[in-house]
């Protein structure tokens, strides 16, 4: 799909939300039923044919309304006990190139550009790094910093890493029925 077509699709999606798509979001935002035919069970709950649900979900995947379908692990429970949010103050001219570089690294699971909040917060690039120990994550971030300095000299003015020490809530999206 061309960029124009996908943006047009996004526009029309925002303008005229598909009522069935919205009902599918509401019905599955806390999870899919754990039965042999979960899409059929969902269709039954929504009072529409199973094939309609499958086609609508496929369309939502194609439009990016659904990012993926699957399991969300508690990263602590599966052994990733060190979860570092690395944050970087990168020169505005280089931030997109550095962001694309970081996103390509195996240890980085999310990477975003966000606004600075001066004077409290000078960082404009956020990259999540998960590991099995803080030493492992610290070493990985130091290695990333070194490569950034080599490839984008002087673009990085400062950096920090914020470790999570407690999950306070992890329910995901909840829109009203």
């Amino acid at each position: 799909m061309s960029i124009e077509a996908s943006e047009a699709g996004l526009q029309s999606a925002a303008d005229t939300p598909d009522p069935l798509a919205r009902r599918i979001i509401v019905a599955t935002q806390s999870g899919l039923p754990l039965v042999a035919d979960p899409w059929g069970a969902l269709a039954h709950e929504l009072g529409v044919p199973g094939e309609t649900v499958l086609a609508t979900v496929a369309d939502m995947l194609a439009r990016g309304v659904i990012r993926r379908i699957g399991a969300v692990p508690n990263h602590y429970a599966i052994g990733f006990t060190a979860n570092g949010m690395s944050v970087w103050d990168i020169d505005d001219d280089a931030v997109d190139a550095v962001g694309r570089f970081l996103a390509g690294m195996k240890s980085v699971t999310h990477c975003y550009r966000r606004p600075r909040r001066l004077p409290q917060w000078p960082y404009n690039l956020f990259a999540m790094v998960h590991g099995r120990s803080r030493t492992e994550v610290d070493d990985e971030i130091a290695a990333l910093a070194q490569v950034i300095e080599t490839r984008f000299p002087a673009a990085c003015r400062s950096r920090d890493v914020l470790y999570s020490s407690r999950i306070l809530k992890k329910t995901g999206l909840r829109i009203a029925p």
Partner: protein
Amino acid sequence: MSPVEHQQAVVLDPTDRRLINALQGDFPLTRAPFADLANALGLDESEIIERLQRLLDTRVLTRFGPMFQIERVGGAFCLAAMEVPEERFDEVAGAVNALAEVAHNYRREHALNMWFVLATEHPDGIAAAAGAIEQATGLAVLLFPKECEYFVEMKLEA
């Protein structure tokens, strides 16, 4: 157990790990997706469903289903942070978590010690939710909307 999650690794057998890894890929859009998965993994359909139920019950998995990008249907996600005085931390966490718009919330080691994600069906819901939290807690909420996402494959090998 309480909604506060595991803080350490739990013991998983090799089959659990294979299943968790397989479920981070594409879930089949068919009328028998667990049977399809079972064929691919060499397991029974019923065993997959039972294991998945157990992994959810024990909170090894926090969710199983579609993951939505609400921005694509006119909604918004936004990262937010607060500097919460230590003695008020639990009280403020309760007030923040009480909002349905708060999708995730993490304690982090920094002066900004509470980081959460707001998810709303309409973009103006973000400012409204942040305002409600400021009103309830008397503390400032800093918003960090994403300006650009650099694409990565989200996979944590179990």
